[in-house]
């Protein structure tokens, strides 16, 4: 029971941090107000972007995990402080402007409750399912060995032995090192962090992405939003084959590629809709760049999949909207993926390798 309470606390903290990061990113040089679910989603990607920026230099200079944990705590506290100052200023401004309170009729409240039940059902399902998949040896093992040896990605999780050189394909995606930091900080077991806490967090985020899409497509019709979220859950539960993103979301949520398949793609589709609808607005491309970078920080699979998706969408924009600037914006948003790809290829060709010892 105590472990469950700790898990719920950590999950709450994750969402608070994602929201905080999101408010800073969404409020950057704009007075437009983003919805809370969208702010959380963008915050998730921004959070992992910053974590990657902090982790990579520390990893390649062979710092211990405890040093990363300490530095990351300072970074998070600074971001929280910045968000707090911004919120105080905003509150001061809001006091001057009269706020219109929104009220919801009973039927809307019922459908809102139905939306929450759909998310809860999905979350309960992923939290109680157990399926042993060999890949967990790698992904969970990375976290376990990093915490045990107080090291950053220097041990081979498949053998438990020290690596000679960094596995540059996987270690650029620092998502699992974040799990290790959380395990060290809160004294939580890597299996609980990866297979329960993050599984719940990702499932809720995926549902928030469905919610955002439904709200954009059906306005404030709460019934339609609930129905769309329900259908998305149903499709996820009924489209089983070993390879679908739905299966990854349900059984292998602890892997970065499950996040790419289910969360990153859904957020990309939402942003594609926004950009297509309003091609003059550069904001969509700005968010797309953050999602693209965040995706690379989460999973190595994203370095090929995300440029493929953005590339295909850019062609659509060029053909249908005749916006030549699309090439520039798409290029910028794909840059983090291309940089990761470059490092990966240089490593594979034997040109670049980094030793795990001095």
């Amino acid at each position: 029971m105590a472990e469950w309470i700790k898990c719920i606390g950590i999950i709450g903290l994750y969402f608070l941090l994602f929201f905080t990061f999101g408010t800073l990113v969404c409020g950057f040089r704009t007075k437009e107000k983003a919805s809370v679910p969208f702010t959380i989603l963008i915050g998730f990607f921004a959070y992992y972007v910053l974590f990657q920026v902090v982790t990579l230099p520390m990893m390649f200079t062979l710092q211990p995990l405890s040093a990363l944990t300490a530095v990351w705590c300072v970074c998070v506290l600074l971001v929280l402080l910045a968000a707090f100052i911004r919120a105080v200023k905003k509150m001061h401004r809001m006091r001057k402007e009269k706020q219109k309170q929104e009220t919801y009729p009973l039927s809307d409240r019922i459908w809102k409750a139905a939306q929450a039940m759909i998310v809860l059902l999905h979350t309960v399902l992923v939290s109680v399912i157990y399926y042993s998949y060999w890949d967990a040896t790698y992904y969970v093992g990375t976290v376990s060995f990093s915490v045990y040896h107080n090291a950053i990605n220097t041990y081979n999780p498949l053998t438990g032995r020290l690596l000679d050189t960094f596995d540059l394909k996987h270690c650029l995606a620092t998502y699992h090192m974040h799990d290790a930091v959380v395990c060290q900080l809160f004294d939580v077991h890597p299996l609980i962090e990866t297979k329960t806490v993050m599984v719940i967090v990702i499932t809720i985020l995926v549902n928030l992405a469905y919610y955002c899409l439904a709200r954009r497509l059906f306005g404030k019709n709460e019934f339609a939003t609930a129905v769309m979220m329900g259908f998305c859950l149903l499709v996820n539960l009924c489209s089983f084959s070993l390879y679908t993103s739905s299966s990854f979301l349900l059984f292998r949520t602890y892997e970065g590629k499950a996040i790419t398949g289910a969360l990153v793609t859904t957020v990309l589709f939402y942003l594609f809709l926004q950009i297509y609808e309003n091609p003059q607005r550069k904001r969509g491309w700005y968010y797309l760049t953050i999602v693209s970078w965040g995706a690379v920080a989460v999973s190595a699979s994203a370095m090929i999949l995300v440029p493929a998706a953005i590339g295909a969408f850019a062609v659509v924009m060029l053909l249908k909207k005749r916006k030549w600037r699309t090439i520039l914006y798409a290029g910028i948003s794909m840059l983090p993926c291309f940089l990761s790809l470059l490092v990966y290829f240089l490593n594979r060709l034997g040109i670049l390798s980094i030793h795990t010892w001095r």
């Binding site: 967990a136 376990s144 489209s239 493929a308």
Partner: protein, 300 residues
């Protein structure tokens, strides 16, 4: 997916799509949803509170980008003329199926089904549409229950036995990093729960040892490899035709102090002869303490 362009040739992409779809019909539903999205982009009156124009614009945009986006994907990443070179160059044969994640299957089926449901004004028609579409998705699909999952026994999401085994070994040995040999299914799980257990044949060693076994051709290999190969043949592959003294010599070389094997009378007879003494049993496994041939057995 274990399919290669060399084997499949021009059919590579098609075979990937067929395997991806499995026994369900969700890609057919996706095609239907795409078609429906295209023809229904005129929008419906949905909400009196919101500006309907905004919804109409979003629904038109949905049809506007999804259809050409899927066509562009079909002409590029799902085009075998291009992919047969790209996939080989990037060595993406095993991961190629992930490109299918770029199709907005879940959201588009969800959107089209919702659009079709809410367009009806009468409550009966809406309920009928909702029930009908639910039935279509459920009955044409293959549910995740087909995967045959079990309920998690604990918050760690590993079998309770794994936790028990690690605890017993630590308690009995008192060492920080006890050296252990386990069955393959345990080698997959043990270090996820307890990285302090030193697996002498880890999950990552198994493919290397199998490659060595395949290329052996009677040559004398490194002692590290041959000893582990012998132990792997007995403990993981259950090849009890290996002479006991060969197994003991190999175990001595691995320096392992514990062996965890399935609870079977035949296995027990072999291991008892091979200087293994049971420490404790769990529901499916027996934890043995291995006595190196230079050490006296407890009854000696």
């Amino acid at each position: 997916m274990n399919i290669t362009i060399a084997e499949e040739g021009w059919r590579f992409v098609l075979t990937c799509i067929q395997r991806y779809q499995g026994e369900g019909c969700f890609l057919i539903l996706f095609a239907a949803a795409l078609f429906y999205t295209g023809i229904s982009s005129r929008g419906v009156k949905l909400c009196e509170k919101e500006d309907n124009l905004s919804i109409l614009s979003a629904q038109k945009a949905m049809a506007g980008w999804t259809i050409p986006y899927v066509i562009v994907l079909a002409l590029t990443v799902f085009n075998i003329l291009i992919m047969r070179y790209v996939v080989v160059l990037l060595k993406l044969e095993d991961e190629y199926y992930r490109f299918l994640w770029l199709l907005p299957v879940t959201v588009l089926i969800g959107y089209a089904a919702t659009h079709f449901t809410v367009r009806w004004q009468s409550r009966i028609a809406r309920t009928a549409a909702l029930a009908g579409l639910t039935a279509v998705i459920v009955f044409t699909g293959k549910t995740v229950l087909a995967r045959g999952f079990t309920l998690a026994e604990n918050l760690y999401k590993v079998p309770d036995e794994v936790i028990q085994i690690c605890e017993v070994i630590h308690e009995d040995s008192g060492a920080e990093n006890p050296k252990v040999i386990t069955e393959f299914d345990l080698a997959v799980l043990v270090n996820q729960y307890d990285p302090s257990v030193s697996l002498e044949i880890s999950y990552g060693d198994v493919p290397t040892l199998r490659d060595v076994e395949a290329d052996r051709n009677g040559q004398d290999w490194d002692r590290w490899l041959t000893s582990r190969l012998t132990v792997m043949n007995v403990v993981m592959d259950h090849d009890f035709s290996v002479p006991v003294w060969d197994f003991v010599a190999a175990m001595d070389y691995t320096d392992a102090s514990y062996l965890v094997a399935q609870k079977e009378a035949m296995f027990d007879a072999y291991y008892s002869e091979a200087r293994c003494v049971p420490v404790k049993s769990t529901e499916n496994y027996v934890i043995y303490r291995y006595y190196n041939s230079v050490l006296p057995m407890p009854d000696e």
